[in-house]
Symmetry: C2
Subunit: 199 residues, 2 copies
């Protein structure tokens, strides 16, 4: 043979399929290369290590997820941000399973490859920023208690509501949005949000 039969995208796609199906632990170099009928050498020609592969996979997925979340916060719409999780899960069921059913540490445990460290840091910071902006918007302050509430309402509750459906490989039903919305209004309270939306 001779020229590029397998590129990084092929390996990432195979890894993604395996991880969606059986979890990140099932993404071994052998399982990935066998799926593509590729030799190990080709894999290690493209990726420095297994961590590099799984790290890239996770990072790409989390960034895709975050885009919509950030957009909702940018638009000053906290409820839309809370509902982004089920909405995105309906559009990208496989990616949502990857991202929401497993933790970051199921992909890369210990230190991350140097090439990805900045990406992970930036991603975490971008999310933190959103929480702060929302806290100011919804609660008028950005203290620890307000940040804790923001995390609950924008991240923890939507994730919890969606999880069992992802496990069953089914899109979250409308009832999930109802539960998230009810919780959102109860925790945030209507008034400040409306004011913030006007302004």
């Amino acid at each position: 043979m001779g020229r590029a039969l397998f590129d990084t995208g092929d390996f990432l796609a195979a890894a993604r399929a395996l991880a969606c199906d059986q979890g990140p632990a099932a993404v071994t170099i052998d399982s990935v290369t066998q799926r593509l009928n590729a030799p190990k050498g080709s894999f290690y020609y493209r990726f420095a290590s297994r961590d590099a592969l799984l790290g890239e996979l996770w990072l790409a997925t989390v960034l895709a997820y975050q885009d919509g979340f950030v957009a909702a916060i940018d638009a000053g719409d906290g409820l839309a941000a809370a509902l982004h999780t089920p909405a995105w899960a309906r559009l990208h069921l496989d990616d949502a399973r990857l991202l929401l059913l497993y933790s970051r540490h199921d992909f890369v445990q210990g230190d991350w490859p140097a090439s990805l460290k900045r990406g992970v840091r930036d991603q975490a910071q971008r999310f933190e920023e959103c929480l702060k902006r929302f806290a100011r918007l919804a609660f008028g302050r950005v203290g620890p208690a307000q940040l804790r509430r923001a995390t609950f309402v924008l991240a923890e509750v939507p994730l919890a509501a969606v999880k069992q459906h992802l496990e069953r490989r089914e899109p979250p039903p409308p009832l999930v949005d109802q539960l998230i919305t009810t919780t959102y209004h109860a925790v945030v309270g209507g008034e400040r949000t409306k004011l913030a939306r006007r302004g």
Copy 2:
């Protein structure tokens, strides 16, 4: 040597310590026996397999957790059931980490040892029963939508609220109870619960 230097409790305790510290995956036969300075033979004299060890550990923990939950439902107090998760986590931080930070499948993947299957089934059924009783109590019906709401308010939300604190090895702060309580009242609505409590 000669007589019982290591019993099943020793192995379970060592496994528990390791799992609390570094997750169930760190519970290997070698790590457990080295921690006790026990030979492998002694371990396999007490347990049929690693799955038997981790299965027993998980089952004992989940049953201890469930007791308080079931008691609250028996008392007809849904809010207490929802708040049982943070309350129990404060009393048993290590056990809570074990149970709530990892899934059942992180302990035993694939089939469970035959000796534990009944226990796992009974445990799941007992929980299901609680959800049904609560659904009737709080919503007056036991349809799929009511069960879904019950799961959300009694299991998903409390777990989500508590998780980040368990990760940091800290007891859940009072704010967690506030968030769970607020959510509970928003989803259940005050009236029926009060009625049910009277009756």
